[in-house]
Amino acid sequence: MRDGQAMSRETLINILLAAALLALPFVAIAMEEPFYITLATRMAILALAAVGLNIALGLGGLISFGHAAFFGIGGYVAGIFASHAFNMEPMFSAPFEFSGSDQMPVIWLAAMLVSVFVAIPIGAISLRTSGVYFIMITLAFAQMIYYFAISWPAYGGEDGLSIITRNGFPGVNTANPLSFFLLCYGVLAVALLMFWLIQNSRFGAALQAGRQNEQRLAAVGIAPFRIRLVAFAISAAITGLAGALFADLNRFVSPSMLSWHMSGELIVLIILGGTARLFGPVAGAVLFVLFEFALGGITEHWQFFLGLILLGVVLFARGGLIGLVAGKARHG
């Protein structure tokens, strides 16, 4: 029963990871290092974005090199809504007048809807291709949106858009770093639960079968295209939600959230933690933010060492952090 042991070990690691991330801000308060709360929030939000990508990439085998598009779209929804609400200018007047919102539930919903709205045409075209073509066409769409954001003057273009005060959430003082962290952590927990449910559902079975063998999926009468398109849209919605939170964390959104580096980083988070693992994105985000933070403080050439570490992970730690500690991926 090696598999059984590995499974329980992975569960144990997942629990430890979840507890550690939750504990970090409280440790920060005890140590009087409030910045670590920000760091923990960043970890939670990046993990959330990667959980979204993990649905497409981990479960569906759809290597999207353009998920920054949805991350940025979510961010811009938060920024644009907030700026209209702040200036009390209507965003549009027909069919009804709408002046943005500074309430997170409204913004989150909009971020997810807009992401899905954009993901469906992108997915519908991209999913006609596969392999490297899919990687590159998703990148191309993200680049289109990136250049559009840079040259669109209405919302700051390259300069980006500031969110003057962090958007609110009913009953929560979001300006308090700890409260905002807990909010993000809660969203992450819900997303992880959703990922787990999907992974074990009928939809998840079809999605994963499609990754393993597209021909087989079609031969049992399930069209891979529709399954994948829905997965791509769900994936985009979660990453878009993360983008909205990221904008609120930084109180700022700019086209760099849409850049191909960002897409690359999201992929890095997943592989670093362990592809298609429930907590892979969490492990990846925690590690990546720690590396970035610790190395940036040590040397000006931190990117050089970050590169070396990433390379080491790919070459010698297949299956990422969780794979390294928990053993081979489970079957089933």
Partner: protein
Amino acid sequence: MSTALLIEQILNGLQFGVMLFLMAAGLTLIFGVMGLINLAHGSLYMIGAFACAAVAAATGSFWLGLVASLAAAAAAGALVELVVIRRLYDRDHLDQVLATFALILIFSEGTRWLFGSFPLYLDIPSALSGAVQLPGGGRYPLYRLTIIGVGIAVAVGLYLLISKTRLGMRIRAGESDREMIAALGVDIRTLYTVVFALGAALAGLAGALVGALQSVQVGMGEPVLILAFVVIVIGGIGSIKGALVGAILVGLVDTLGRFLLPKLFAAFMGPAQGATAGAAIASMLIYIVMALILAFRPKGLFAANA
């Protein structure tokens, strides 16, 4: 708009396309033979440019620099293949993306460590300065014409190499059947190293040629890398012919789009508005073209294995 200007812009598009071809040829060759996605191809381009600039500054000769750029990029390529890339052939694309993404970080920061933070100087050789009279009254820089010539020469050279030589036969065999080539007694590991070094050398050559036109600085390879990927995807991954056609297409579309779209928009929206709106669409144009082509031909124009 005069005919001379249009001819000049078409030549500009051609030159840009040829430059992209030098990048894309190596990328598509490496993908076709080894099935590897190499994001670090832009770093090899940068290495070529830095090697050329450094050697040209030390010796005063652009030509020595050019030789150095080929040597340095090929050496870097071979080294990377031996140390890192060869472990990635039987991995999925995901691992390849991450590993070569990591290589970009290492190469970029490593280069800055070595050469400092300021852009380097590299000018075109005096023998190639000046302009050539075009039919129709225009003038065109000799150096850019030379780049077009080099690109065509490389295209012909690659064609001959692949269709007429033993190495080319092995490359073709490697593309279609890896096991067969191993059975033929060809040392496939050496073949892969050679192909990778060849692709790297082409990138280095492009870097050196373009370095004389542009700024030799860290990160210069990344925009070109993305364009080169667009090119090979449009052309059909693994196809040298596709890379050539895709490169020329992207070069022409991008150059003419930048030139014509703002004029078009200005006719409707007025000069200042039209200039920004036209420029915005122009910057997205090649990606739009790529999406359109893939929507109708999901494996590009000349898919190698169709």
